[in-house]
């Protein structure tokens, strides 16, 4: 087999792999699983693995599986190729002195195969249990509500009295309706802008104005700006606000 066949993923015409990369393959649970599958498919003796053929198949398979990035598979591919190289080395005359470079791999494969047998046992047992239901989990009953307070009316009144005596005299506030007149403020601003194309905040709000007047004018101004009747500008922070008739509404 040729060098290029051993490294097919290095082929320059290889299409760009899709960006998605699945680590948990449903088909194989690891490189040893893939290796065992190949040995079974190729129908070769596990104690006498034709390492060159299997290595080639392995590398081909991890390419078609798009597993190139999976370190575990690549490590096994490298191991196989190294064993293949060791097999090619000339042997010493004494055959029995020769350490089969495949021995470690065979041991691992057998160990893995044994584990797979146990997996089969567990899988059957788990499937059998899955098919039988236990009594469903019954959630704990919610905690019962607190017992109602056992108090007589006089005890309750005494408690209220006790609390009120400790408390300070309550501050009594008079609540008056909100005295903001936005429509009125708008009329004032419109009247002013009817005579002058440009006005300033201080023209609208006289010195010493009441808070409700300031608020009404501000809200009225913002409302008109929103409707496009005027433009509100402030050249720099805290400067006097300049109000101009909106050019568009003027044209209309």
């Amino acid at each position: 087999m040729t060098g290029t066949a051993a490294f097919p993923w290095a082929a320059p015409d290889a299409p760009a792999p899709p960006p998605s990369f699945v680590i948990e393959l449903t088909e194989f649970s690891g490189p040893l699983d893939l290796l065992l599958t190949l040995i079974r498919e190729e129908q070769v003796d596990i104690y006498d693995i034709p390492i060159a053929r299997i290595a080639e198949q392995f590398v081909l398979r991890i390419r078609t599986l798009q597993l190139n990035e999976a370190a575990d598979y690549l490590e096994m591919a490298a191991r196989l190729l190294r064993i293949k190289a060791q097999m090619l080395l000339p042997r010493a005359d004494g055959e029995e002195a020769w350490d089969d470079p495949r021995a470690e791999l065979v041991r691992r494969l057998l160990e893995y195969q044994q584990m797979r047998e146990v997996v089969d046992v567990l899988e059957r047992a788990g499937e059998d249990r899955r098919n039988r239901f236990a009594r469903a989990y019954v959630p704990q009953a919610p905690a019962p509500p607190e017992a109602p307070l056992a108090l007589s009316l006089s005890e309750l009144l005494a408690a209220v009295d006790r609390i009120l005596r400790v408390a300070r005299d309550p501050a009594i506030h008079d609540v008056i309706p909100r005295a903001i007149d936005v429509p009125g403020a708008i009329v004032v601003i419109r009247d002013l802008l009817a005579i002058r194309a440009r006005a300033r905040w201080t023209d609208l709000v006289p010195y010493g104005a009441e808070p409700w007047q300031v608020l009404s004018t501000l809200l009225g101004l913002l409302e008109m700006a929103k409707l496009g009747e005027c433009r509100v500008e402030q050249p720099r922070p805290f400067a006097n606000v300049e109000i101009t008739r909106d050019a568009a509404s003027e044209a209309a």
Partner: protein, 180 residues
């Protein structure tokens, strides 16, 4: 049925999990061990012989009433209960190794499986199927894992010895580590 068998049936019916033998024994302090075993046998036979939709199963040193598997499909179709998701191949392989070689460290599992198992161990631990049972010798004193009672429950095993012994497997492997 004897009064003791009825008492056991009621207790087993009330429990969602297998009841350990000691807890069943505590239900009636008067009853002897033999009487308890006889009552459990009686209950099991009652379900098996008279033909019931449920059966009495021994799991992890305890007992549990389970529905018979022939009714699973109908129950699931009616959405009265749902089968839990199957464990992945990676999870089963890792569990198999832990069950046979416990206490076992992560490095040994990875050596045999040929893949890294960090996330699998984490999810098995979260599901309560395995637990840390000690620390190994050597560098970093690695965590060693073992199976839990929930493992026995998940696979409906009476005890770990119910799994085939290593020498009963088709590929019997020498237990002593790598002397190739």
């Amino acid at each position: 049925m004897t009064p003791l068998a009825k008492l056991l049936e009621a207790a087993l019916f009330a429990s969602a999990r297998p009841i350990p033998s000691e807890e069943l024994a505590a239900l009636d302090p008067e009853a002897s061990k033999a009487a308890l075993a006889a009552a459990l046998d009686e209950l099991r036979e009652h379900y098996d012989v008279d033909g019931h939709g449920v059966e009495l199963v021994e799991i992890g040193g305890g007992w549990q009433i389970l529905t018979r598997s022939e009714y699973t499909e109908a129950i699931e179709r009616a959405q009265l209960a749902a089968r839990p998701a199957r464990l992945s191949a990676a999870a089963l392989e890792t569990l198999a190794l832990i069950a046979y070689r416990q206490p076992i460290g992560r490095a040994e599992i990875e050596e045999i499986r040929g893949v890294s198992v960090g996330s699998v161990l984490k999810s098995l631990h979260e599901r309560g199927l395995i637990d840390v049972v000690g620390r190994g010798e050597g560098m970093g004193r690695p965590l060693l894992y073992g199976t839990t009672p929930i493992f026995l429950e998940y696979f409906a095993l009476r005890h770990l010895e119910e799994l085939p012994r290593a020498d009963e497997l088709a590929v019997a492997l020498r237990a002593e580590p790598r002397t190739v």
